[in-house]
């Protein structure tokens, strides 16, 4: 049984159901792929023994009760190192969480294990999910399995969920969890040629996920097909009384939603997303997306989201402010790294000075500044007002249309080391993903074509709150038309 790691999640699920192979064989194939792909640095921690044990248990469950398997029974996946996993190192790719082994399991991962999924390991990311390239990790950068035509310079996988994206694109995992605060699932999915879903804020519980900006953070799946994203989100989502912002709504069957008809849907094209300096490749791809959806019987409707240009600066007040408050807990007392000091204050300052990397330090300081006495109204309150206006823009647009079609990221993957000197240039990566985050809307990125230098480009679909079903069926239509079947250079078994 070779090439088991090239199956999609749905194919693997069906193969297991038919008894064509066991979860142990499927998991073994992925462990082997993961070992071969170590050069990508996609994982912080590998858990092969745990994976094999879980796979054997899954096979035993299936043998006993073949009729009612969990929705992800026996499927090996990777987990972003931001999810607390009981008894398994959880670092958020930060020095300050050195050797932190959670005594509890996050709700989302607990849901996945209950559905039968198997954990291969914990994936690398930007430190505390702050970044768009997975270059701020304490454990070093992750490499994108894609390379430019005629150029083998290592490229970034995007971020912050770059390890997850790289592992899935390299065929070292059937799928992986990500988290998205301003684009951290969708942008790396676009850079690595895979599918990334950020569900509606409140769809997945945040309990047990290391907090970055609590009013924005959402967990979601990263997979190679839209169907796989629907399967995996179904297993991750659900109400959780332990997260007060978790939505008490039933989880729809997202996979069934893929079959919904898109004919007659109105697809909004936000004019403000046509930005200066966008590449011709990207504009052409966006146009192809419109053509594909028109051919499927939907109607293109121009819409305006007038406050789009203020989304990024709004985000860079709100997110650091919440981060400065959330990251106050890392004080060297209860868990993680401690640097000694003569006094308690000195111990705090040394611990946080040495424990946080440059980008995290910068954001905590910005957040502290905008929340500090005398500046709160000028910055934080102002940003929360802009956020209301941005959200209102979407609400008005969704009175006229059912779903929005936009590019996911302004460029394809760039080389490791680029955009490092200018924080704002790095922040611009999220220009198309941040607005939906600020409004809490569900959004998906899927690979739709290649840039002129041979790198994947993604298209994004944004839907109304809690209408992932329309998002999924529209994405499925785009996926079918795009027929994206190019594979990355550094794929395992290429």
């Amino acid at each position: 049984m070779s090439e088991l790691n090239h199956l999609t999640m749905a194919q693997a699920r069906d193969g297991l159901a038919k008894g064509e192979f066991s979860s142990a064989e499927l998991t073994q194939a992925h462990i082997a792929a993961l070992e071969v792909s170590r050069g990508l640095n996609a994982f912080v921690t590998e858990t092969p023994e745990r994976a094999m044990k879980a796979a054997q248990e899954s096979d035993a469950r299936r043998a006993k009760d073949r009729d009612e398997p969990g929705s992800m029974e026996g499927l090996p996946i990777a987990i972003k190192d931001l999810f607390c996993t009981e008894g398994v190192l959880t670092t958020a790719s930060s020095h300050i969480l050195d050797s932190f082994t959670p005594p509890y399991e996050s709700t989302v991962t607990a849901n996945l294990w209950r559905a039968g999924a198997v954990m291969l390991g914990k994936t690398n990311m930007d430190e505390f999910a702050m970044g768009s390239a997975t270059v701020t990790s304490y454990y070093g950068p992750t490499v994108n399995p894609w390379q430019r035509k005629d150029d083998d310079k290592p490229l970034v996988p995007g971020g912050s969920s770059g390890g997850s994206a790289s592992a899935v694109a390299a065929r070292a995992a059937l799928g992986a969890t990500g988290t998205d605060t301003g684009g951290s699932i969708r942008q790396p999915a676009s850079f690595c040629g895979i599918v990334g879903v950020k569900p509606t804020y409140g769809r997945c519980s945040r309990w047990g996920i290391v907090a970055f900006a609590s009013s924005l953070d959402q967990a979601g799946p990263m997979t190679r097909t839209v169907r796989d994203g629907a399967i995996m989100l179904g297993a991750m989502a659900g109400y959780d009384p332990k997260d007060s912002t978790s939505a008490d709504k039933p989880t729809p069957n997202f996979e069934t939603a893929l079959e919904q008809k898109v004919k007659g849907l109105k697809v909004g094209i936000p004019e403000e997303y046509n930005m200066e300096g966008m590449s011709r490749d990207l504009l052409a791809l966006w146009d192809r997306g419109k053509e594909w959806l028109t051919a499927a019987g939907t109607e293109m409707v121009p819409v305006s989201l007038p406050h789009t240009k203020y989304a990024l600066p709004t985000y860079y007040i709100v997110a650091p402010a919440e981060a400065s408050s959330n990251l106050a807990r890392y004080d060297g007392v209860r868990y993680g790294f401690r640097a000694e000091g003569e006094t308690l204050q000195e111990m705090y300052e040394n611990t946080r000075g040495e424990g946080f990397g440059a980008e995290v330090r910068r954001r905590v300081l910005i957040g502290t500044y905008v929340l500090s006495a005398g500046y709160y109204d000028a910055y934080y309150l102002k940003a929360q007002k802009l956020r209301a206006l941005i959200s209102e823009d979407f609400r008005e647009a969704f009175e006229k249309v059912d779903v929005l079609l936009t590019p996911t990221a302004p460029s394809p993957a760039f080389a490791i080391g680029e955009k490092m000197d200018d924080p704002i240039a790095m922040y611009l990566n999220d220009v198309f993903t941040v607005p939906a985050s600020l409004a809490g809307l569900p959004a998906i990125s899927l690979p739709a074509g290649l840039s002129s230098d041979g790198l994947p480009l993604g298209l994004q679909l944004i839907a109304r709150p809690f209408d992932e079903e329309t998002m999924f069926c529209t994405a499925r239509t785009v996926e079918e038309a795009a027929n994206f079947d190019v594979e990355p250079a550094l794929m395992v078994g290429a």
């Binding site: 082994t101 509606t200 600066p313 209860r334 946080f356 502290t368 500044y369 959200s391």
Partner: protein, 95 residues
Amino acid sequence: MSLDKSTVVQIATLARIRVPEEELEGLASEMDKIIGWVEQLDEVNTDAVSPMASVVDVKLIWRPDEVTDGDCCERILANAPKKSQGFFAVPKVIE
């Protein structure tokens, strides 16, 4: 306003982050640039806008105020960098 070195020192103290002297200048200029960039929000008149408190329409639910766990001192202390007699240990705060 411009964000200078002494402001960075003050914020870093509030945030309890030690910043080496030689990094203050660079950090001040980076932060000044970021703050200058976010100040473009001032272009928008928001006098009549209420600040957003929550993105989704979720009503916070009540639950009984009761103890649901406990008796797990060892698990809580398991990750502590320093502990002593069932407590987290820190440098002396009272002489």
